[in-house]
Subunit: 248 residues, 4 copies
């Protein structure tokens, strides 16, 4: 019974993977269009807004469906608390930028499956994607504030670069509550990125080391095999000796 539920959850996740990835791409494109084309006709703006909310709604439904299919609902709730927050918090207008977190998580999952081997490509790809989304989000948040220093996409991209590298000149910085939230996420992302790089070097180190270790374990096993055959030889020798005594 439980097993069936688990299997149904896994099947749901496998089937939902492609559509969710496609929707995540749609979301990023629509979001970029809305932010970059600030003076678009109100009609187009409204269409893009609807697209963004529909995608967000599909992600909310995906969470609900997975919750429904989970066998152990409490465990699912606890271990997917972050997912729930990323789905619920954007309902507050001021926090709608957090919709990007869910979208990035979906894209990252697909992305990681494909190219995790090529760590350089993976890190570069994730950094570019996160940087792009952060630039769009901070531009969206800051643009219309009277004291804003980030008013064009160029400014936003430059600010993202100086922040993620922790250089922080301070010629551009967010002044709104929402922009600072983006900055906080970007800084956490930057530290996480460094952690991934360190972790990669560490795991590469382990691999090289366990290569030698593997050799030692193999040699060890050869020794034990050799010893067993020595003991067998000895046992046979004793048998022969007994036979000799019996004959003698």
């Amino acid at each position: 019974m439980f097993e069936t539920d688990e299997r149904r959850l896994a099947r749901w996740e496998r089937r939902a993977e492609w559509p969710l990835t496609a929707l995540a791409v749609v979301f990023v494109v629509a979001y970029a269009w809305q932010v970059l084309d600030d003076r678009s006709t109100p009609g187009l703006h409204a269409v893009l807004e609807v697209v963004l909310w529909v995608v967000w709604l599909v992600f909310a439904i995906d969470y609900a469906a997975r919750f429904k299919l989970a066998a152990n609902k409490r465990k699912f709730f606890v271990s997917h608390l972050f997912d729930l927050l990323a789905v619920l918090l954007p309902m507050v207008r001021q926090l709608r930028v957090l919709r990007l977190v869910t979208v990035l998580k979906v894209l990252n999952r697909r992305f990681a499956g494909k190219i995790r081997q090529k760590v350089g490509v993976y890190v570069a790809g994730v950094t570019t994607l996160v940087g792009l989304c952060a630039s769009l989000a901070v531009l969206d948040a800051e643009r219309h504030h009277p004291d804003a220093t980030i008013t064009t996409f160029g400014d936003a991209a430059w600010w993202t670069l100086t922040t993620i590298s922790t250089v922080g000149y301070g010629d551009r910085y967010p002044v709104t509550w929402e922009g600072r939230l983006v900055a906080a996420l970007l800084m956490i992302g930057g530290i996480a990125l460094l952690g991934v790089i360190t972790g990669t070097i560490a795991s590469w180190l382990v691999e090289r080391l366990s290569g030698v270790e593997g050799q030692v374990v193999e040699a060890e096993q050869a020794t034990v095999a050799e010893l067993r055959s020595v003991r067998a030889e000895l046992a046979e020798l004793r048998t022969e000796l007994r036979a000799a005594r019996a004959e003698g």
Copy 2:
């Protein structure tokens, strides 16, 4: 005699643990209240001030009691020099922000015991707590200075974030002597945090490696055991051979 003293010290520390943790929480709450509710009635302000000093006094008494119970007073004095400074220095009004150091140390000790296994949760928790206290302390120090750029809790939190991530835009920075002391502690905390993260990765690395090592050591021991049984077999063989000769 000495043993008894040591045991009495350990018993004191075990018994004082819960009350001190509770008092540390009380201190942080009272301090936050006092700083955030700047325009409170003078009466309430005075009450909070009294609470803060009473908690500090209890921590001072705890130090004195532990000093009294210690068998080797000189060794205790040297190895708890930092504790003594954290208790004595806040008597100077300008350094009263250092009371937070003692409080954070107590909270960290309890915190660490509970959740050190879940490193991610631990690091996030400590960072949040340190960041909160630093924000309150810098706001307290800066608020009434004429050149201050940090005048609201939002500003203080934003400044803490840009400092601990070492981005440092420079749109907000402390200008008072006391605020800069908080900044110094926060920067040291930030570097320590990075050290903890690196150390965690390193120890995880050691664990994975010593897993393989354990295997090798086990295989080694199996080899030696096998060899011993081979030697026993040989000894028996010699005995039989002698018996054969005696018979022959």
Copy 3:
């Protein structure tokens, strides 16, 4: 047939190494001269410009020749995509600063071959060279902009230092599109530099460890050799015993 092509490509690269290094040095000197001697007579300026484009052209021809000699053209194209971009992009006037990337790559290759053992010297050398080129490039890009804060070589060198160390005071920062491109490359270079330092420490660690490992592997091999001679001894013993029985 393929083998021959591969060998011809390797021979080309071996023969082109010295001339390309010399041209790279010529390029850096001419570029530095052009940037630092801003008020030179137009005639000299034009000569230097011609020198720079000729060197770039030779690098483009080198790419074309290597492409022509490559046995598997598709594989060469994919694995040398970065080289191609570094040769093609500078044709756009705004991106001509990217010519320095090709030049630095050639210099680094020679440099690395000579002194990779002395890691300290290597890191210091590369950092100095990259810093020098970045200073020249940012000065070239910024100097004539009305809002520029980087207008002398001293300013540019100081800005490079604050950027590569990620301190980023923000007293000087690029304001042009081209200058920010230089900054982006410099920041990536800075992170890469830290990666090299970490990687060096890691590999030194591996070396020290595999020293011990090598000892273990040797000891293991000695054990197996010893065991084989024990088995030979046993076999001989059995032969003797059989002879004894035959005699008996």
Copy 4:
């Protein structure tokens, strides 16, 4: 002959150790006094200046003496090039701040010998000493410049802190050529400091690992010893068997 020279050089260095350390402390104190007591009577100022130059002269003589005693002068010249530069460059008035480099090197050597075991104390001590000297040097360089933002010791210490932690708010920054030289040295020092911390963690890691390794090597040696006694037993067995055949 050569041996004797080497021994004489070693004896010189051992004997000069204490006086040079004392002179280094004198230098730092005199330098601090001169910088902090800016409005002292010209007479006192002149006395301190003389003290500083005398100490520098003694360090120059120490270099000359060691050069004279060195058996292989060319090798000594190459491997002590840095020492020579630190002694010669301060003769240029603009570079007199570099005298501090020689002084710090001497203090570090003594310091390191005493407390290298206690890494935390060592790192804290070196950082404090370097920070103090950098604060004094930057204050000395900047104070009288019209655009200076660092004009008091408090400012200088705050600037040093924001620089060595790579936060770099940019509220204070050097504007003179000499002050920027101090900044460059401080940033290099900051990166070196991080390298020391990483290196310490790495070496601690190696120690913990080689603890297990040592166990494996020991077990290996026990195995080989065991095997040798097995072979001895076998040889004896063969001798007995031969005796039996002779008897039979």
